[in-house]
Amino acid sequence: MNTATPEATGWTKTLVRHPLFLPVLTLLVLLLVNRAFNAHFFHIENKDGHLFGSLIDILNRASPLALVALGMTPVIATRGVDVSVGAVVAISAATAAVLIGGQMQIVNGVEVYVSNVPLPFAIAGALLVGLLCGLWNGALVAYVGMQPIIATLILMVAGRGIAQLLTAGQIITIYYQPYFFLGAGFLGGLPFALYIVAAVGIVLWFFTQRTALGLFVTAIGINPTASYFAGIKARAIMLCVYGFSGLMAGAAGLIISSNVKSADGNNAGLLMELDAILAVTLGGTSLAGGRFSLVGSLIGALIIQTLTYTTYSIGVPPEANLVVKAVVVFIVCVVQSEPMRKLILRDPSLQGVTR
């Protein structure tokens, strides 16, 4: 029987009980698997001032997903979900592409690449569109009172249509060089996208630790009515939370379109919503709302990206990629599940195994 308080038990148990234990363990295992197949896996080299290496690569590739997952975390904590992020990624990418312009011009026989509008406007425009999409979701959830999954399903269904409407069904190629810095540039040796993730992470951390946002979001997630009665501006907070999720999807759309140098209304951010929800869940935040972990979501995003990387690099045929992902999802979820935790923690013979 263990009913004793955490202080009374050994540090291993405290460790095992920590909500981040499993996500971190999963990530470590994946990294070690990679190391086993590729001796240079942890190797990072410096090529003309840029750091190269598998780890950097994973971090870089994971950054759009990490952004979306960070945006999704507070939404899920308020007992919501935002399934529209993939579509919002496409919309924001389309906006950016349309604003920057899909045409190359030939001046005196030399190609020059010009942007329709100054770059900052294009970026702001795309972010604004993302934010608006998020606010639309938030308004439906908080003020109309729709269930989050439906409210965001609307945009999920319509969003790719809207993105294609913006681009008139074309895949718009972007030729404007400075724009590529967002998704493929390096700053101080590291991919620029990492700085964006870090900045967002720090802002979020500040808001959840140094303000009451974390408390309010958690309270709303657990009992919206009671939170409203306690005087929390539940609706305004929900609106902001969805708006933020949209904004993050917009940012991810920018990074993605800058990375592939085009905007494809049909395929940009495809299945991103599922990956993001998965990342948040793998990070230990329950879809039922309440307590959440930002670090967990980041780790979740890394797990997903590492997994993709692993399947490519250890020579699993890409067809099997999805199967591997599914199996990992099942295993992590089952191990994380309440009944399983109980089983593992209760049976002393198993404790050695989980440590």
């Binding site: 090529k47 190269f52 190359m104 030939i106 190609e111 294609q164 069904g169 074309q170 895949i171 190629t173 030729y175 493929a184 592939v260 140098k261 085009s262 494809d264 209304g265 049909n266 395929n267 940009a268 490519y312 690099s313 020579g315 890409p318």
Partner: protein
């Protein structure tokens, strides 16, 4: 008399090539005075089947479509035949047991395109030492261009044992797909790859990005052979990042309208109508670019 009504079921808008194709069909229909019923299947075969069935219900004069995949068309084409509506395939062929299910097929000869790509490679590596390692970026699995461009290449290089295809994967004809697959290939094979044989320009452009990001020079360290000769492809060639693009013209609108009118009038047309195409190596790219329409 009434205008000719043509129902056209397009695959989708998955690449620049496809949008040029759509544009050509729409504008030539306008010019030819054809009432065009256009639908876009978003890359889903069931949507195409639905659209064709709806054209049958609408009693259009001619149905044309560009099949997503080769198989599975028999039941609905039989319905069209029963309704006595002639069917024209464009761009991609289908597999049916009964050839009379469609009247004509207008489109590129992908097999020939594949051969052209192969021949260009042989030319390029004349006198060079083997082995020459090729990484192939395939189109959508099961689609005719993917199958034929692959087979065309094999046909040419099988007699030459210097050439070896060391990796072959589908990038789904998309830019993102090409980039992702190329990254994976570079990870597993690295500098062994000498040639990238990409089934279309979009994937090739994705691959070029991946190669650059890996610190290599596309067009020099790795030779890039591609298909379609789209604007994007031309730009890559002019920038010296792509070596050759085998043309595959999407501008089959006029030919389609012409054929449709003949078919509707009950005249006989050749079963196979091949579009006129050529090969653009990077050296000729800059000269040809201004006259390109797609």
């Amino acid at each position: 008399a009434d205008k000719l009504v043509l129902g056209f079921a397009q695959v989708g808008a998955e690449s620049e090539w496809r949008t040029a194709n759509t544009e050509s069909i729409k504008s030539s229909a306008k010019e030819a005075g054809v009432d065009l019923k256009f639908s876009d299947a978003q890359q889903k075969q069931e949507n195409q089947i639905k659209a064709i069935r709806s054209y049958i219900a609408q009693k259009v004069d001619v149905i044309a479509f560009s099949p997503v995949v080769e198989s599975g068309w028999e039941p609905v084409l039989r319905e069209a035949k029963a309704a006595k509506i002639p069917v024209i395939l464009t761009d991609r062929a289908i597999k049916v047991s009964d050839d009379s299910l469609y009247t004509a097929f207008i489109g590129s000869d992908f097999l020939e395109e594949g051969r052209r790509g192969g021949r260009w490679l042989e030319d390029h590596y004349k006198g060079a030492q083997g082995p020459i390692n090729i990484a192939e970026l395939q189109g959508t699995v099961g689609s005719a261009p993917a199958i034929d461009r692959h087979n065309g290449l094999i046909e040419v290089i099988k007699s030459d044992d210097r050439f070896k295809i060391i990796a072959s994967q589908s990038g789904d004809f998309t830019r993102a797909g090409g980039k992702q697959v190329m990254e994976a290939m570079l990870k597993s094979y690295g500098k062994q790859i000498q040639v990238v044989y990409s089934h279309n320009d979009d994937m090739a452009i994705g691959a070029i990005q991946a190669i650059e990001e890996a610190g290599l020079k596309p067009g020099k360290d790795i030779v890039i052979v591609s298909f379609d000769a789209t604007k994007g492809g031309f730009q890559a060639m002019m920038a010296g990042k792509m070596n050759v693009s085998v043309e595959c013209s999407p501008l089959l609108g006029p030919q389609l309208m012409e054929t449709a009118k003949l078919v509707a009038a009950g005249k006989s047309v050749p079963k196979r109508i091949v579009t006129k195409e050529t090969v653009f190596p990077m050296e000729t790219a800059a000269a040809a670019f201004p006259s390109r329409k797609y």
